[in-house]
């Protein structure tokens, strides 16, 4: 319970922060940065949230299901573009993989030598 309280307060703090800024920025991502900072500062220890974080991360796919199910009402908007969507996804994925791998490999080699 205490672990849940810590994670939820950090999440709510993130949400309040973006409401305060009147920004579209996702509050959950602000919460992630906040937790990362608190871990680095040592104000929160991984042990304080070990249970809740491992359970949430292990069951993560469960929580995506409702978002996925929503395609049953929005799929008509994709009409006539199914192949395009798949091809865009496939080609773009290869581009991202290549750009990332080559730039990291180049920079790591340069840092080593």
């Amino acid at each position: 319970m205490k672990e849940m309280a810590i994670v939820f307060s950090i999440y709510i703090a993130g949400e309040l922060f973006v409401i305060g800024l009147e920004s579209d920025f996702p509050g959950s991502v602000v919460g992630m940065l906040l937790l990362l900072s608190l871990l680095h500062l040592g104000w929160v220890k991984v042990d304080h949230i070990r249970m809740v974080s491992s359970v949430l991360l292990a069951y993560m796919p469960l929580f995506f299901i409702p978002a996925g199910v929503s395609v049953m009402v929005t799929y008509t908007l994709m009409d006539g573009f199914y192949w395009q969507i798949i091809l865009i996804t496939v080609f773009s994925t290869m581009i991202v993989m290549s750009v990332t791998a080559l730039s990291v490999q180049y920079l790591v080699h340069r840092e080593r030598s």
């Binding site: 939820f8 999440y11 993130g14 949400e15 579209d24 920025f25 996702p26 959950s28 991502v29 919460g31 992630m32 906040l34 937790l35 990362l36 871990l39 680095h40 991984v46 949230i49 974080s53 949430l56 991360l57 069951y59 993560m60 796919p61 469960l62 929580f63 995506f64 299901i65 409702p66 996925g68 199910v69 929503s70 395609v71 049953m72 929005t74 908007l77 573009f81 969507i85 865009i88 996804t89 496939v90 080609f91 773009s92 994925t93 290869m94 581009i95 991202v96 993989m97 290549s98 750009v99 990332t100 791998a101 080559l102 730039s103 990291v104 490999q105 920079l107 790591v108 080699h109 840092e111």
Partner: protein, 232 residues
């Protein structure tokens, strides 16, 4: 009779939990790495709703509660990143620069391909966050008014395809460095890519794992820039 209790949030909650856990159990039983429990459960639930003629809006009552947990899940993505931060230190610049550039290439390529294929703005926006981990992808899609369902589907296709082609891409481009292999899998194919990266080795896996949260952040920042510049 069956449908009398579908008007309450309990229906969506129970259906998601039961089918979702069933999907996770199957995932543990099958030897097929690319089996996706989320996609499986999603299709089963759609089939159930269509088969029993239950409107989506009734499922959504409970489904919305489930989605509320995506916030706390995104928060705890900081934990794996923190746990691997010692591995990040040595080549921090190379890794963060590579992820930031890779995330930009995702947005630019989706943007250009979508325009070339004649996709409308809504579809384009839904595909933009497709290379990041699902909870951040959903948040990003909501931020730019995409269709969350399409974003989730394209994220699944991305991860699955990325894990399939990584061997081939790395051979073709002569990528041998384990750090580069891991970071590129995490950046391009999120958690599914990380599963593949762990098959290469623990260093590749750890690198891929820490890249997921950084790629999510980088993508959000690039999207804000796209919005600021009026591209979307």
């Amino acid at each position: 009779m069956i449908v009398s209790w579908t008007h309450t949030p309990v229906f969506g909650l129970v259906l998601t939990a039961v089918v979702g856990i069933f999907g996770l159990i199957i995932k543990k039983r099958v030897a097929w790495n690319l089996f996706n429990p989320m996609l499986f459960s999603m299709l089963i639930i759609i089939a159930i709703l269509l088969g029993l003629d239950i409107p989506y809006t009734e499922y959504k009552l409970g489904g919305d509660y489930v989605m509320k947990m995506l916030g706390p899940i995104t928060v705890v993505l900081a934990v794996p990143l923190y746990q691997h931060h010692d591995k990040l230190k040595k080549h921090a610049f190379a890794i963060i620069f590579g992820i930031t550039l890779g995330s930009l290439s995702a947005l630019v390529s989706v943007y250009l391909f979508s325009l070339m294929s004649g996709l409308d703005m809504t579809l384009l926006k839904s595909l933009l966050p497709r290379s990041v981990t699902t909870p951040i992808g959903i948040a990003a899609s909501e931020m730019i008014d995409g269709l969350v369902g399409l974003t989730v589907l394209s994220i699944v296709i991305t991860g699955t395809f990325g894990a399939i082609v990584s061997d081939w891409v790395y051979k073709l481009l002569k990528v041998k460095d384990p750090i580069a292999k891991g970071v590129a899998l995490g950046t391009s194919a999120h958690a599914i890519g990380t599963g593949r990266a762990f098959e290469y080795g623990t260093l590749e896996g750890a690198m891929s794992g820490l890249s997921i949260a950084i790629a999510g952040l980088a993508t959000i920042f690039w999207l804000l820039l796209f919005q600021f510049l009026g591209f979307i």
